[in-house]
Amino acid sequence: MLTNSQGEASGAPHRPGENGEPRVTLREDGGAVACSLSGAWNTRTVAHIDAQMRALEARDDIRHLELDVSQATGLDTAGAWLIERLVHAHEQRGVDVTVSGQSEAATILLAAVRDAVAQDREAAARPHRAWILNLLERIGRAMYEARDDLVYGANILGATIGGAQMKLGRAHAVNPAAIVHQIDRMGVGAVPIIVLMSAIVGAIIAQQGAFQLRYFGAEIFVVDLVGILILRELGVLMTAIMIAGRSGSAITAEIGSMKMREEVDALTVIGLNPVGVLVFPRLVALMIAVPCLTIVANFAALGGAMFITWLYSGIPPAAFIDRLRDSIDLSTIFAGLIKAPFMALIVGIIASIEGMKVGGSAESLGNHVTASVVKAIFVVIVIDGLFAIFYAAIDF
């Protein structure tokens, strides 16, 4: 008879069996193996014995297996799982297995776990595919997603232009209170940060422009540079980017969390069009607020530039305004301002689409808020570029 105490050979830091650690003592006799289980067999300790039990499970030279669990204390589902896993594996091979020494409570527990072991536990493994297929799949999905975004964006735009607040047959005036509330939040609330940011950007451009033009002795032309750059491009662009970050994210988060809690579904069932109720007031508010904010941004940027040119180049404010009046005309101002409602529309629509796409989880909300801001800023810049090309083509 051979006594093989594998527990001691496993190199555990403590002597197995001490501190209540689980332990298996094997007694082999030809093809018959008798295991004596001792120590605490619970969730907190089974990690020590798992590898040894698996090794025992994998052995196929066993004819008869005898498990004595009378020394095992504190058996819980994890311990029972290890025992039943071993029993099940050997029973599958046709080995004669006997379990002895269990208490009444352990019998109930082992029986409950046995039911679970017996069920087919084959987890459906995901089929392995070539990386090129995965790549193509992602490209395809991205394309379809872009198409869906475009269609949904057109839907929102159409619903907005149609002013569809209610479902068919119940046309209803737009709620002015909601729009005013949104203008207050997205427009008036954004004034301080937009004034500050635009003034700083205007000042930086004026300073750099003045330093470069000084080489040519044409320092006064910094007024032309700053005036045209800010009024045509930067005022509206900076405003749109700030609004995309500030209000676009808020719209996505608001609509998204309403979607998560089925509030959007509730609106539909009550007979309200979610686009009309949620998106329309925000879009209208944005289209009113962004041009106004653009005007504010223009003034702030010009003010910053005026201060800096006075400070660095000694151009007094009166001369700055005089020069500005010569260099720009009404069309320069409108070339910038016309873009503002389009920017507002794009930020609002992208934010709404992303909000409506939010799924059930908190992670999904975060992903879509990020996507909303990134996409909105990207598209705003692209649109600005398209306008620049268009203006150049029509000589505006």
Binding site: T43, T77, A78, W81, G359
Partner: protein, 270 residues
């Protein structure tokens, strides 16, 4: 954890293992006192049903026991440990031996069901990954969910499945005591009955002690060994269904003898 089934007899006056003892707990939010010198014992191996009118402070008591709400006075001993005096390590030992099923499941929405069950295991135990998967699947089977629910996200589950998955997470570490906050609310009567049966079965197999806040009369009748009624900022009455029926308090009377409670009357007579 030791499996103890013999200490379940309620009528025996012998000394029983007290797992949770609340003494003179007082909780107030500002001026309004929610619980006033409340005392309660929960014994090992029993299923305690806890009822009370809406707003009477059932959830506050549960949250106080779990340490989510601060109490103004009294002591709470959970698993023999005074929670106010426990060191971080002692507190952690207690945390490992308790499980909580929140009313709406509170499954982590960004994780799959299997990962949700593994969260406590990862936090407290150093298990091989394969064993952790096996144990999580075992818990899933024990609460009666099919294995194909494992890779799903909570948003893809029905209400009953969410409750079961949340129960599986509460059982992840084979706790001594589980707290269930309205486990059968929002389930259909059949699903609720199955859940009650499940709780009873798990109590028998895993030797659980169950503290169940509930409004469900059927649960109180079929699953619970003992019932405690919260009213007037303290425990009004505790005992078996028969004790409830004998109680003279108007709210307890209305609750257990009202129209919706006629099956209790019938079973009490029969």
């Amino acid at each position: 954890m030791t499996v103890l089934t013999e200490s379940r007899n309620i009528e025996t006056g012998t000394e029983r293992d007290v797992l949770l003892s609340v003494r003179d707990a007082t909780v107030a939010f500002g001026e309004s006192v929610i619980l006033d010198k409340l005392s309660l014992d929960v014994y090992r191996g029993e299923i305690l049903g806890f009822v009370g009118a809406s707003g009477s402070g059932k959830s506050v008591l549960l949250r106080t026991i779990l340490g989510l709400v601060r109490k103004q006075g009294g002591t709470i001993r959970l698993l023999g440990q005074d929670l106010d005096k426990a060191s971080d390590e002692q507190r952690m030992r207690v945390d490992m031996r308790q499980g909580v099923l929140f009313q709406h499941g509170a499954l982590f929405s960004a994780l799959t069901v299997l990962e949700n069950i593994q969260v406590p295991m990862r936090e407290y135990l150093d298990l091989p990954r394969k064993l952790m998967d096996e144990l999580a699947l075992l818990k899933l089977e024990l609460v009666g969910l099919p294995p194909d629910a494992a890779p799903k996200f909570p948003s893809e589950l029905s209400g009953g499945m969410i409750k079961r998955a949340a129960l599986a997470r509460a059982l992840a570490l084979d706790p001594d005591i589980v707290f269930l906050d309205e486990p059968t609310s929002g389930l259909d009567p059949i699903g609720a009955a199955e859940f009650d049966e499940l709780v009873g079965k798990l109590r028998d197999t895993m030797g659980l002690t169950v503290y169940m806040v509930t409004h469900d009369l059927d649960s109180l009748l079929t699953a619970c060994d003992r019932i405690a009624v919260l009213g007037g900022k303290r425990v009004l009455v505790e005992g078996t269904v028969d004790d409830m029926l004998k109680c003279d308090d108007p709210w307890v009377k209305a609750y257990f003898r009202g129209k919706r409670a006629r099956q209790i009357d019938r079973s009490a007579r029969g």
